[in-house]
């Protein structure tokens, strides 16, 4: 009973603090503090409710138990992280985005290909590509190569479509100016069109970060060596070791946010000139 009361108290306090904070003019500090307090409140309520309502830890382990499990099995988590994120997701991400970028630059030279590939690419980007996972696992074996292949297929089309669109983002005036400078194709590409395409390219890169992690983890459901985050999640669910599953989810969430944040920071550094970054 006391836990439930504590949960409601935490909710009331967290909400009240946030209302007070958000009434003030928005600064950097409140912009960070408000969501942080919201997150902490949710975790406290979760902890209180699990104890108060006596939910079995088999169904929903309390955050403290997850934290303890996390601290206790860093070895396994690290091994899974290397297998899934570094070997599977990251290598696939680099290969897929790199290939999509190069092909986008190539087809940009041929308007015919562009008009053909853009609608098809847009169509394919909306398809449930994750379904390719079992096929690719069959082709490339159980180890990380097949996971990287799934990631390549998943990130390729969003990246391709975004890059091609970005390369069209310059207007006639700018291209004519380059022509009056007697700039050749390479110079126009490197000095005008690629920089102008950067906001689009980074948009594609950001979408691809989430897709890469999802692809690498889900591909492991279809067969993997005895390590990796997807493998650990599916087997631990079978053993009802949900605290370990949640620990893996924490890793995935932190990695996903860090990956996304890293690309966003890079974007800020590269496209500092763009209106959306100056605001």
């Amino acid at each position: 009973m006391i836990w439930i009361v504590a949960g409601f108290a935490a909710w009331a306090i967290g909400w009240w603090v946030n209302v007070q904070l958000s009434k003030r003019p928005k600064t950097r500090a409140t912009g960070l503090a408000v969501p942080a307090i919201f997150g902490i409140t949710i975790i406290v309520i979760w902890e209180c409710m699990v104890h108060g309502l006596e939910i079995s830890p088999v169904l929903l382990p309390p955050p403290s138990m997850i934290a303890a499990r996390f601290a206790g099995s860093t070895g396994i988590l690290w091994q899974d992280f290397v297998q899934t994120v570094i070997k599977g997701a990251l290598s696939g991400y680099i290969l897929g985005c790199g290939a999509a970028f190069l092909i986008a630059v190539l087809i940009d030279r041929f308007p015919f290909l562009q008009r053909g590939l853009l609608p098809v690419g847009n169509f394919v980007a909306a398809l449930p590509i994750i379904g390719m996972a079992p096929i690719l696992v069959m082709w490339f074996g159980f180890d990380w190569q097949s996971k990287a292949a799934v990631v390549v297929v998943m990130v390729f089309f969003p990246m391709l479509v975004n890059t091609v669109q970005g390369l069209q983002a310059t207007d006639h005036m700018q291209r004519d100016l380059m022509r009056t400078y007697a700039a050749n194709y390479m110079q126009t590409l490197l000095k005008l069109r690629l920089p102008a395409a950067m906001p689009f390219i980074f948009n594609g890169l950001k979408i691809a970060t989430t897709l890469a992690l999802i692809g690498a983890i889900v591909a492991e459901f279809f067969g993997s060596p005895i390590k990796g985050m997807g493998f650990r999640i599916s087997t631990s669910v079978g053993q009802l070791a949900l605290d370990l599953v949640w620990a893996e989810i924490v890793v995935a969430a932190v990695v996903g946010s860090a990956f996304y944040g890293g690309v966003a920071l890079l974007e800020k550094a590269v496209t500092f000139w763009h209106p959306s970054q100056r605001g």
Binding site: P35, G116, E248
Partner: protein
């Protein structure tokens, strides 16, 4: 005529190129197995024999498009003709299972997304505290915890459609929130001031200005949400142990090496996605035309 060719020509070319590459890939990938068989039988394969063999294997590495087409026909049209349209071997049955949880999840996700967006637009505290978490929630590979959601919901006695729909909902609410927040904020100051001079209440401002002007944004997000919802439904079917649905077909196919079955499930899923997204596009054009918003 020239204009139609200008638009369709390149697309047709690309599609034909994909089919040519697919057939070439079929020959290349299945050739080792064909050679293997021929060697054991002690015969030399001529080129045309090799090609015809690679196109007609039972468990090819890459089935040829017409094999997949035949399989799809066998499990849909032919079943209908026999009057067993919804038997367990029929792809129609599995598509219906996936479709129902996709639509339920999509409806739930859209409702949640719109509710959150209205809250975010009208409540400053919610804007500041919820919005960052909505964005952060999508950097978590949610599909990864699909098995856990299914098992946990099963344990407390909720099974069947709803657990899968929950995953679809989680994937589809995000684009709706982002799109609707943008849409509900799209009326500019001039229009909002005009509402104020008319002494409009907040409700009137919402129903008569903000909601109508958010429609184009809503439909764009709905298309993304629908595609995401289908992915959620398919992945949600994986951990239930291959009972029913397109995801279950994929998993069963990968267990037993039935590549043709995997590909036919995949193509069906793609067709389903295209049909659903196309349907929303159709509704979009109709609604926006009636609202006078189509340029």
């Amino acid at each position: 005529m020239a204009r139609v060719w200008y638009r369709l020509g390149p697309i047709l070319t690309v599609v034909i190129a994909i089919f040519v590459l697919w057939y070439a890939g079929t020959v290349a990938l299945n050739a080792p197995w064909a050679h293997d068989k021929a060697k054991r039988a002690g015969v030399e394969l001529s080129f045309s024999e090799l090609v015809s063999d690679t196109m007609s294997q039972q468990k090819p590495k890459l089935p040829a498009p017409h094999q997949v087409g035949q399989e799809i026909w066998k499990t849909t049209g032919a079943m209908v003709a026999k009057g067993r349209a919804f038997s367990k071997r029929s792809l129609l049955y599995h598509s219906m299972v996936t479709l129902s949880s996709t639509l339920l999840g999509f409806a739930l996700g859209t409702a949640l997304g719109i509710a959150l967006a209205v809250g975010i637009v009208y409540n400053r505290t919610m804007d500041m505290s919820v919005m960052p978490w909505v964005i952060a929630s999508q950097t978590i590979p949610i599909l990864a915890i699909a098995p856990m959601i299914i098992v946990v919901l099963n344990a407390i006695g909720i099974s069947g459609l709803l657990p899968k729909a929950v995953i679809s909902m989680y994937l589809s609410f995000f684009p709706v929130v982002v799109g609707m927040v943008k849409g509900l904020r799209s009326p500019d100051h001039m229009q909002l001031d005009q509402m104020k001079t008319w002494f409009a209440t907040r409700g009137q401002e919402f129903w008569k200005l903000r909601l109508p002007s958010s429609m184009p944004y809503l439909f764009t997000s709905l298309k993304i949400a629908m595609a995401a919802s289908l992915v959620g439904a398919i992945v949600g079917e994986l951990p239930t142990g291959a009972v029913a649905g397109l995801g279950a077909r994929l998993l069963a196919g990968s267990y037993y090496g039935q590549t043709i079955q995997i590909w036919s499930a995949l193509i069906t899923a793609a067709a389903l996605a295209a049909a659903l997204v196309g349907l929303i596009g159709l509704i979009q054009t109709m609604v926006l035309k009636r609202m006078g918003m189509v340029r």
